[in-house]
Assembly symmetry: C2
Homo-oligomer: 118 residues x 2
């Protein structure tokens, strides 16, 4: 992961509404959640929500698919894991004994056990 990508992802999460949205989508799992439902749950006007969803999308932290009239947003677990990896990358002078990298991906549990980063 590049430094600029990390800053973009951290900036995207460093805002109360967006952190709420992201965590909601992390909870929602691979099913995702339509934009309208997100706005309803968090009490955000549609234009405001759309702005924040766009920020999260440009940071690579969420993706979406269309289903009828709705856009279903879902968390991008790989991006979250890459960010966690970046933050802990230089930790403990590379000693794995004191440094366990967090991995979280409901769709690839097998990969998670092997470790995503090589």
């Amino acid at each position: 992961m590049e430094k600029s990508d990390a800053v973009t992802a951290l900036s995207a999460l460093a805002q109360e509404s967006r952190l709420d949205v992201f965590r909601l989508l992390v909870q929602a799992g691979t099913d995702g959640m339509p934009a309208g439902q997100i706005g309803e749950r968090l009490g955000l006007p549609s234009a405001t929500l759309s702005f924040h969803l766009n920020q999260l999308r440009q940071a690579g932290l969420v993706t979406f698919r269309r289903e009828g009239r709705s856009l279903i947003y879902m968390a991008e677990y790989a991006a979250m894991n890459a960010l966690l990896g970046y933050l802990t990358e230089n930790c403990c002078q590379g000693d794995p004994a004191g440094c366990a990298v967090g991995i979280c991906d409901p769709s690839t549990l097998i990969d998670a056990k092997e470790g995503i980063r090589q």
Copy 2:
């Protein structure tokens, strides 16, 4: 960890110079590094560096101690671990099989193996 604390910590890290400073201190370990040396390494004017160090300090991500004329800054590993925990907290609907929380602390390797969060 409170949501507002998480936003503060993420905001602190969501800036190129501060991310550089934090990672440098994570590398430096418990010895820490004097402010002057940080500024020299990253090419930051003293007032600018001081502003960023203050942001990191207010976010609880770094602490400092005085040694003679120098202020030695060091990473607060517990705060970083708390943030990683917060981001992955609602992951995988609580299923521990797909969700391992990252832990990193050179000074408490034993605690790390037990897991810091209860």
